[in-house]
Each structure stands twice: as C-alpha cells, then as structure tokens.
C-alpha cells in the first residue's frame, strides 16, 4: 500500500507560464514539474523551480527512467534524479510504464511494452533499483498506446497490479491514457480502472487528446474531453481523494485557463465523492 498525500488539485509547471506563475500566485494546490527539464546545473529553470517550491508542494514527474527497457538503467540519470529529489523534497516522484531507449540511443518517447512475464520481471527489477536509490516509493503511470503486442499474456491492468505487488510501488492513473488506449485497443476503460487495487493509486492525470484517423492520440493540447471527465468521476468514486493533475503541453492556453480546468477537476471530484458516499458500497 502507499500513503497518498492530501495534495488536492495541481497543474503542470510549463515554461510559457513561468513569469505568470511567479507574478500572480495562481490558486492551485501544487505543481508537477517534468524532472528532466530541471536536471540542469542552473539558470532560469532552477531559479523558477526554487521560487515555486518556496510557495507550493512540488511533484517530480519524469519521462526518461525507461523502466521497461532492456538497456541498462541509466545510473547517471538516476543520480541526477536523486539529487533533484533531495533538493526539492517532492511530495511524489513518478515515471511511466514504458521504455524509451535501445542500444544507448533514446527515442524520447513513451514506448509501449508487451504485457508478458519477461517484461514484468524486467520492469519490476528496475523499479526496485530506482526505489532503492531514491529511498522512496515511486508511482508508475500507465501510458497511452497505439500498438498492442500479440505476445502479451495479460491485460495492462493485471501487469500494473502485479508490478505494484512485486515492488511495492504506487500507480499514477492517467485517466485520459486509459480512455485513449481503451479506444485504440477496444477494451473497457471502466474495467481497467475497476481492476486496479485501491490503496495503490497515488495520483491521477487528466489531459486532452486528439483523434487522428481512427486512433486517439495523447496530445495534451485540448481541454479534458467529456468522456474523460466521466471516467474521472468513476475513478474518484473508486479511489477517493487522490491528488489530481491537469496536463496541458501543446497549443498552450493562458495560465488562467489551465487553472480553470484544475478548478473544474476539483468540483468534479467533490461531486463524485459525494455521490459515492450516498451510493451503496461496492466490494473492493
């Protein structure tokens, strides 16, 4: 099980909003930062991060641990992450269930894994190493995917559940990614959420997506879609008051617009928790 910090609702700290964030003290509960962008010695990124950390809780979210890769774990990257975590004292450290490098080359993408025992054992060993180095539990996020592998022997939710059980890590449930992958692969998004263990989910992500041809892409360039808000209600009813982040990375609107989306998430979560309290309890 994991301890879920009572953070509330946050947004991602993005370059376009640095000046506005520091000047206007927006009404958000916390900020998530992409760890990789701050693993630099100095300059403006570090200055902004220090200033933000003085005022808000900060969550570190990485994109390059490459937890599912066969390539050796990049220990220098891990050292840099440990140093950043030591300095920032984040409420949460997270990365993705994916791989992104091969033969020492990086794709800078969140590439999908086959859900096999071999991939599970490999990923679990790496999560254990990361947690050992960081001396804390991490959260592992489900990614949006566009391919599924014929050799998979279990569904993604079973893989995530087993990974959490083997490593005692937590899960970052990206509700939009569940919706996107469910569409792309034809599974039931609610079944995914219902299969994850309560007590393991330490953070939610919400974001917008796009449709390209027949597939949905996780583009983070739109408001959260109505269907994803519905799925978020479902997740909140199951997992309770879990810290929730609005991710917006492209076609970036004003800071105020992102904050507004976060406040909507807060209202939707309150409404969903209230409805869940009134509904008969379901077996977990």
């Amino acid at each position: 099980m994991i301890e879920v910090p009572a953070l509330g609702h946050g947004i991602g700290l993005r370059t376009e909003h640095y000046a506005d964030v520091l000047a206007t003290n927006p009404p958000v509960d916390w900020f998530e930062v992409i760890s990789d962008n701050f693993m630099v010695p100095g300059g403006n990124p570090r200055r902004v991060l220090r200033a933000v950390r003085e005022r808000w809780p900060v969550v570190l979210h990485g994109v390059a641990l490459s937890l599912g890769a066969v390539d050796p774990l990049n220990e220098r990257y891990l050292d840099a992450l440990a140093a950043l975590a030591h300095e920032i004292e984040p409420a949460i450290v997270s990365d993705h269930l994916c791989w992104g490098s091969h033969g020492g080359a990086y794709a800078h993408d969140l590439l999908p894994l086959p859900f096999t025992e071999e991939a599970l054992a490999n990923t679990a060993a790496r999560v254990l190493r990361v947690q050992d180095r960081l001396k804390r539990q991490i959260l592992v996020e489900n990614v949006s995917s566009y391919v599924a592998f014929t050799q998979s022997t279990m569904p993604e939710w079973e893989f995530l559940t087993a990974l959490a059980a083997r490593t005692d890590c937590g899960l970052l449930l990206d509700v939009n990614n569940v919706f996107v992958s469910a569409h792309n692969h034809g599974f039931d998004a609610r079944a995914f959420i219902d299969a994850l263990p309560v007590g393991r989910v330490g953070q939610f992500h919400l974001a917008g997506h796009s449709q390209v041809g027949e597939l949905l892409l996780d583009t983070h360039d739109h408001p959260v879609r109505d269907e994803v808000w519905d799925l978020y209600r479902h997740a909140v009813a199951r997992f309770g008051a879990v810290p929730t982040l609005i991710e917006w990375d492209d076609k970036m609107p004003s800071l105020a617009r992102v904050v507004e989306e976060s406040q909507r998430a807060k209202a939707v979560a309150a409404e969903a928790r209230s409805a869940a309290r009134e509904a008969p309890r379901v077996a977990r």
Partner: protein, 277 residues
C-alpha cells in the same frame, strides 16, 4: 491473451526501435530491411481501423517531429536561413548520423553545428556551421551552473600588493567560440527581422563570447587581442599572469597593466567574472 511465444523483449525492442527511428516511415523501413509487412502483423496486433504499420507509424512520426521541434527551438536562426523544408531534411539526415545519446532532449542538438558544417546545405553557405555553433553555445550557457559575479566593491578591498596573485575565473555560464565569419551580424539581422544577411569572412582571431548574466544569455564579438586574454581567463588565471601575457603585445609593463585594467573593467561590467567561492 494467451501467447507467450514470439521474440524476446530485447529482440522486440530492437526491431521496434529500428522501425520507428528509420528516416522514411515504417513501411519503407520494412522494405529496406526486406521484411514483409505480414511479419509485423505477427508481432503487433492491427485491426480494421488501423494496420500494424499505421499504428507503428504513429510512433515513427512522434519520434521525428518531437525532435524536430526541439531542433527548431534550439536553432531558430539556422532555420530562418535555410527554411522549413531544408531544415526538415537536415534534421532527418542529422538523426541518422547522430541518434540521441542522452536521456534529455536538451542535448539532442549538440552535434548539429559540426554536422551542418559538412552537410550539402553548407556548400552554398559555408558559414552555417558557425551560425549553428553560436546558437548551440547560447543554448548551452542558458542552464549552466549559477555563480555570483565578482563586483567592483569586492575588488576595491583587494590590497595593491595582492593584485598580482588575484585569481580571475569566469562565471561557469560562459564560452568562447572561434568564428571564421562575422556570424554575429547574421544572427543580429535575423533577430531584428531584417532577413538573414550573409556574414563576411572575419579577421584572424575573431571569436564570439557567449555568457549568461542573471538568467539572460548574451553574446558579443571579440577581436584577436581580447580573445587571447579571454582564453587565459576561461582557463582560469591571475591578474599578474594576464598582465604578463598582455606584455607581449604592448610596449611597456605600464601599458600592459593599463590594458589589463581596461579588460577587467569590461568583464566586471559584463558580469563575466565569478566571485571567489
């Protein structure tokens, strides 16, 4: 959900990586490798909505365009000179020669200055490498380590007899880039939206000093004499050693000391010198 056979994880990742990082999309990459598209379907589940190749192409496109975006952002002046299409093709060629070797996208463009210098694009404009080198140096000093600058007030309390051994060190966010062209003029013409102006061949010893003052990156051209002094400074020196080196270029010790004081004044004003730790 029953198959356990198929390639090992290592083999799967190798094939996947090769296909999505190929220069011209998954179908051409398969053809180039002599792999029938049907072989892919044995590994990746397609359906009536999107084939295995279409699905893998999503990753191939994201791979290229994500890195292209970073290169466009790191090299806006080079982009302005060559235009969108040529820059796109340059990025394609570059990634084949220099796949990213660092987990952060921050470093993905590090080898572009040397690459473009020998690329076909540089035949007509042999100064493209110099322009890219300036742009990369600006990217590079942007997030280097912070350091408090040496101030005039701190210098004022140094005893005269201690000046000769006064250590001089640059702020970490500084770099000196030799330039055979007056590339700073090309950079400025684009910055001022006058349209890219070709540089002229520079005098011998011409270089660019790039440094960060607070959080803002600056650069300026330096002539041969200051360049030699800056090379000493960037290797860390003392005021005395600087005077000695300058002595080779002027008529007297007094002139050398005066020249050193003049340089020191400029560097202090630029906040180029780091305060002692």
């Amino acid at each position: 959900m029953s198959r356990a056979d198929g390639p090992t994880l290592a083999e799967l990742q190798r094939r996947f990586f090769e296909l999505v990082t190929g220069p011209e999309g998954v179908a051409r990459e398969l053809a180039a490798r002599g792999v029938p598209a049907g072989a892919l379907a044995a590994i990746i589940a397609g359906d009536a909505r999107a084939s295995a190749v279409d699905r893998l192409d999503v990753y191939a496109n994201m791979y290229f365009f994500r890195i292209l975006d970073v290169l466009r952002s790191d090299y806006p002046k080079l982009l302005a000179v060559v235009g969108d299409d040529a820059f796109h093709n340059l990025a394609t060629d570059y990634l084949q020669a220099h796949p990213s070797r660092h987990p952060s996208l921050r470093f993905v463009g590090a080898a572009l200055p040397t690459f473009v210098a020998t690329h076909a694009l540089a035949r007509e404009r042999p100064w493209l490498g110099a322009l890219a080198a300036l742009e990369w140096a600006r990217v590079d000093v942007f997030d280097r380590a912070d350091a408090a600058p040496l101030t005039r007030e701190a210098l004022a309390i140094v005893a005269p007899e201690d000046f000769a051994t006064l250590p001089l060190a640059p702020v970490p966010a500084s770099a000196l880039v030799p330039a055979a062209w007056t590339i700073e003029e090309t950079w400025r013409s684009i910055e001022d939206e006058r349209g890219p102006q070709a540089p002229a061949p520079a005098e011998a010893g011409h270089a660019l000093l790039i440094w960060r003052r607070g959080v803002t990156v600056h650069h300026r051209a330096v002539a041969a004499a200051e360049r030699r002094a800056l090379e000493l400074l960037l290797g860390r020196t003392t005021f005395g050693a600087l005077c000695t080196a300058l002595g080779d270029e002027v008529d007297s010790e007094e002139d050398a000391a005066a020249r050193a004081v003049q340089l020191l004044g400029g560097w202090l004003a630029d906040e180029l010198l780091a305060a002692p730790a």
